[in-house]
Symmetry: C2
Subunit: 467 residues, 2 copies
C-alpha cells in the first residue's frame, strides 16, 4: 500500500464529520460498505476508503469535493465497481464518492441523436430507456457498467469496431474539478474548433482530474436489420485472418469477436450452450435488409477461403440476446473454471496487420502454462484479452500471470500497440506507462499537476509514482 | 497589436543569428517573406514575424525551438497559410517556423488503413499519393490546406458528416514541445485506454502547445460507388429540413452542403456554371452500388416532400471533381463579387434540431445589410458559414460585419452551439471563449501554462488575454 498523500487520521475524521453533517445517512463508515467500495472486479487486493459518500447531485458532489479539498483528503470516484485494473482501490485512503445513485437519464434529444445522463446510469438501463425512441447507445464493454465509469476508463467493447469507443461517443461532460468548481467541457453541437478538447482530456482520465457528474452521449438509430452469427474455425489463424480481411475490405460489421477453444469450452459450460469447442467468431451485422445481406455475403466469401465452419444465425431478438449475454458472461465463465479463484484480465491492442502475429506468439507463450488463460477479443480493432484464472493466494500463480502479462505487453508495444486497449491503467498497467509513452508521460504529469495540484483525485492511479 | 511577451530587438537579433548559423539560407528576414508569413486568408491585418525559419526535420524543429525557448522568443508554426481567423499573424513578433517544406508521406500502412505524414503535406497531395492503394483520406476543408494546419485547427469540411473531423481521424502525433523535447502522443493501435488523450489535446490547439512534426491519420477504402448530385430548392427551409431528416434517418450520406441563392449566383459567375440561382444542396453518396442506390432513393423521397427540384447527377470522376471544385472555390467566388475586397469568413455550429431556426434568424438579421454575405455550410453537422465581402479599409463595413458576427455567435451559443465549428479561434473568436466555456476556460489556461509556462508558442492566439 502506497501511503503517500494519505491524510492523517485526525484530518480524515474531521472531514468525515463535516460530510456527515452534509449528507446524514448517506455518509457511511460501515465496514461492509467500505469493503464493497474498496475493490473492483480485478484480482487486486481490497483497499478500503475511510468512508463512502453517496452523492445525489452535481452540487452535492461539489460540496463534498470542497470539504475534501480544503483538508487535503484524497477522493476516489465510484460508479458501479466493474473496472478490472484496480481503478477504485483506495490506496491512499480518503473518501470514496459514490455517484452510482445519480442514475437519471436527464434529457433525450432524439432529433439531435444525443442524450444527457447522470454518471450512475447503467448502459442497459439507458438502452431500456431509449427503446421507444428508436435509438440506442452502442458502446458495450460487456459488464453492465455505469456510463460515468465507462467514460472514466475510455471503455469500448464489442460494438467499437463500427461505432467507435467512448472517445468518439462522448460529446460533452459536466465535471467537478478537484477544487470543487463545476465546468462543462463542451457545447452540444456535433463538432467545434473552439479551444482545447477538454472532453477528450477527461474521457479516460480514470477519476484523476475530477468527478464526472453529467455525460452527453451520441446515439444511433436502431438498424432496420440486425443479424448475428456464430462461426467456428479450424484454426485461430483462420478466424483472425477472416477478421482482418473483413475490416480491410471496409465492410461495416458491427461486432466481430474471437473466442479461442479454451474460452468456448468455458462458455459452453457456464452458459449451457453446445457450440463446437473450436476458435470461434461471434459476429453482428447492422443495416438495411439489403445492406446486411450484402455484408453477410462478403464476409461468408472471406471466411469460406479460411476454414470457416457453418454459420449459425440468430435473427430473433431473444436468440441474439442469449448469444451476446453468453459472450458478455465470459468473465464469469472463466471464474467458474476454477471455483474460488480470481480473474486477472489483461488486454492489449495492436495495429491490425500485427494482430495474427501477436496472437500466435501469445498462444505459443501460453504453452505449458498451468493456470487457465482463455483468450477472447474485439479483434476487429486489433484488441484482445487474456483472462488468467488464478488463486490470488498462490504467489507462484500470481508470478506466472505477471510474467505472461509483461511479455504480452512488451510484445504489443514492440508492434506499435498499446498496453491497454480498453481496460485502462488503474494500478495494473502503471509500470508500462513509461515504455509506452516515453517523454509524453511527463506531459501527462504536467497536466495532472495543473488540474489537481495537490493530488487528491484518485491518487496512485494511472500515473506511476516514479520513473 | 498586443506587445505582451514580445522579446527585445536585441534578444531577437541574437536568436536570428543563432538560427542563421543553424539553417543558413533557410532563415529569412526578407520583407517579402516576412510579409507573406504574416497573414492567413482572413481579413485580419498582417503582423510580420521578425524572421522565418524553414525547417526540414523534427530534429531541426527541436533545435529551432530550443534556441527560441532559451531566449524567450515567441514562435508561430506555419503550414500553408490557409487559416481564416488570424491564426498565424505574429502579434508578438518572433520567429515563424515554416514546416511547409516538410512535405513527405513517410509511411502508408494500407493493411492497417493508416498513414504517417509530415505536417507540410497538402491534403490533395496525400490523396494523389494514396490513389494506387485504393485508399483515401476524407477530411476536406475546401482549401488545399496542410495536414499540420488541419490538425492544428481541428479542421473538418464537406466529408465530416460521414467520416468525422480531424478529431476522429488523427491517430497519433509527433510534437516538439515548447522546451524542444520531442514526444509522440500515442501508438498506432486503433484504440487505447493508456493515459490522458494527448493526441486530442494537441488536435485543435492552434500551435499554442507545440509544433506538430508528424501526423498519423486514419484512411478509408475508396468506395465502389461515388455519386454526386446538385438539387435546387424553392426555399432554404426545404433544403435545411431535407438535410435534417436525412441525418435523422441514419442515411450515411458522405456530403450534404447548403449554398444559398446569393452564394449560388457568385458560384455560377466565378466557376462559369449555370445552376438555378436558388438555395441548393450539393450531395455525395459513398458505398456499394446497391447501397448508394438505396441511399439516393431515401434522400429523394425526403426531398420530394420538401420542394426539391430536379437532381442533377455527376457519376463521372471529371464531373464530380468540377462540381466539388466549384463548391470549394466559394471563398474565391465571394471575393470576386467585389474586386479588391476581403472575406471575413465566420462559422458557427449548432445542434441539428436548432439549425433551421438558426439559419432563419440569421437570414432575417441579414435583411437590409449592405455588404454581401453569402451563406453556405456543412449542414449535415449543423455547421454553416457566412462570408462577409468587405472593404477592410471601410470602418463602417468592418463594424457591420462585427455586429452581425457577434449576433450570429450569440445566437449559436443560446442554442447550445459553438462559436466555431471548424475555423478555430485564432484572433477572431477569442472574445467569445468565456461566453462559450465559462470556468472551463480556466482549465484551458491551466493546461496552456503547464505545457508552455513562458507562453512562447503562438502567444496571443486562442486564449483571450483577459476575462
Amino acid at each position: 500500500m502506497n501511503t503517500m498523500n494519505r491524510a492523517t487520521t485526525e484530518t480524515t475524521s474531521g472531514v468525515i464529520d463535516k460530510l456527515r453533517a452534509l449528507l446524514g445517512d448517506r455518509l457511511s463508515t460501515a465496514d461492509a460498505v467500505r469493503e464493497s467500495h474498496g475493490h473492483d472486479e480485478s484480482w487486486h487486493p481490497t483497499e478500503m476508503p475511510d468512508a463512502v459518500a453517496f452523492a445525489e447531485s452535481t452540487e452535492e458532489v461539489s460540496a463534498i469535493v470542497r470539504v475534501c479539498h480544503d483538508a487535503g483528503v484524497p477522493m476516489v470516484p465510484y460508479g458501479a465497481g466493474t473496472s478490472v485494473e484496480g481503478h477504485i482501490q483506495a490506496t491512499h485512503g480518503g473518501i470514496c464518492v459514490d455517484v452510482g445513485g445519480m442514475n437519471e437519464v436527464l434529457e433525450v434529444h432524439a432529433e439531435d441523436l444525443d442524450c444527457t445522463v447522470q454518471p450512475g446510469v447503467r448502459r442497459m438501463q439507458l438502452n431500456e430507456h431509449l427503446r421507444d425512441t428508436g435509438l440506442f447507445f452502442p458502446i458495450d464493454p460487456g459488464a453492465d457498467a455505469s456510463i460515468g465509469g465507462m467514460t472514466g476508463t475510455r471503455a469500448s467493447g464489442t460494438n467499437a469496431v463500427r461505432y467507435g469507443t467512448m472517445r468518439e461517443n462522448v460529446m460533452s461532460l459536466t465535471v467537478v474539478l478537484p477544487n470543487g468548481e463545476i465546468i462543462r467541457t463542451a457545447r452540444r453541437s456535433r463538432k467545434s474548433s473552439a479551444g482545447y478538447d477538454l472532453t477528450r482530456l477527461f474521457v479516460g482520465s480514470e477519476g484523476t482530474l475530477g468527478i464526472i457528474t453529467e455525460i452527453t452521449l451520441r446515439l444511433y438509430g436502431i438498424p432496420e436489420n440486425i443479424s448475428s452469427a456464430v462461426v467456428p474455425f479450424e484454426t485461430v489463424e483462420g478466424a483472425v485472418d477472416t477478421t482482418i480481411y473483413t475490416i480491410q475490405s471496409g465492410i461495416p460489421i458491427a461486432r466481430i469477436e474471437l473466442l479461442d477453444d479454451v474460452q468456448m469450452d468455458a462458455l459452453n459450460k457456464y452458459s449451457k450452450m453446445d457450440h463446437p469447442v473450436k476458435p470461434t467468431l461471434f459476429m453482428e451485422f447492422h443495416g438495411t435488409d439489403a445492406g446486411v445481406a450484402e455484408q453477410i455475403a462478403m464476409v461468408k466469401a472471406i471466411g469460406d477461403d479460411l476454414g470457416a465452419g457453418e454459420f449459425q444465425w440468430s435473427d430473433k431478438l431473444e436468440d441474439r440476446n442469449r448469444l451476446w449475454q453468453a459472450r458478455h458472461d465470459v468473465a464469469y465463465a472463466c471464474k467458474a473454471m476454477r471455483p474460488g479463484c480470481e480473474i486477472w484480465a489483461t488486454d492489449v491492442c495492436v495495429p491490425l496487420s500485427r494482430l495474427a502475429e501477436c496472437i500466435a506468439e501469445t498462444r505459443k507463450d501460453l504453452e505449458g502454462v498451468t493456470i487457465p488463460a482463455p483468450m477472447c477479443g474485439h479483434v476487429g480493432d486489433g484488441n484482445f484479452h487474456l483472462a488468467f484464472v488464478l488463486d490470488p493466494n498462490a504467489p507462484e500463480e500470481l508470478r506466472q500471470a505477471e510474467d505472461l502479462n509483461e511479455r504480452l505487453v512488451n510484445r504489443a508495444l514492440a508492434m506499435d500497440g498499446t498496453c491497454t486497449g480498453e481496460h485502462g491503467v488503474g494500478l495494473g498497467k502503471q509500470k508500462y506507462m513509461r515504455a509506452e509513452h516515453g517523454d509524453a508521460l511527463n506531459v501527462m504529469r504536467a497536466v495532472k499537476a495543473a488540474i489537481d495540484p495537490t493530488n487528491i483525485m484518485n491518487p496512485g492511479k494511472m500515473l506511476p509514482a516514479q520513473n
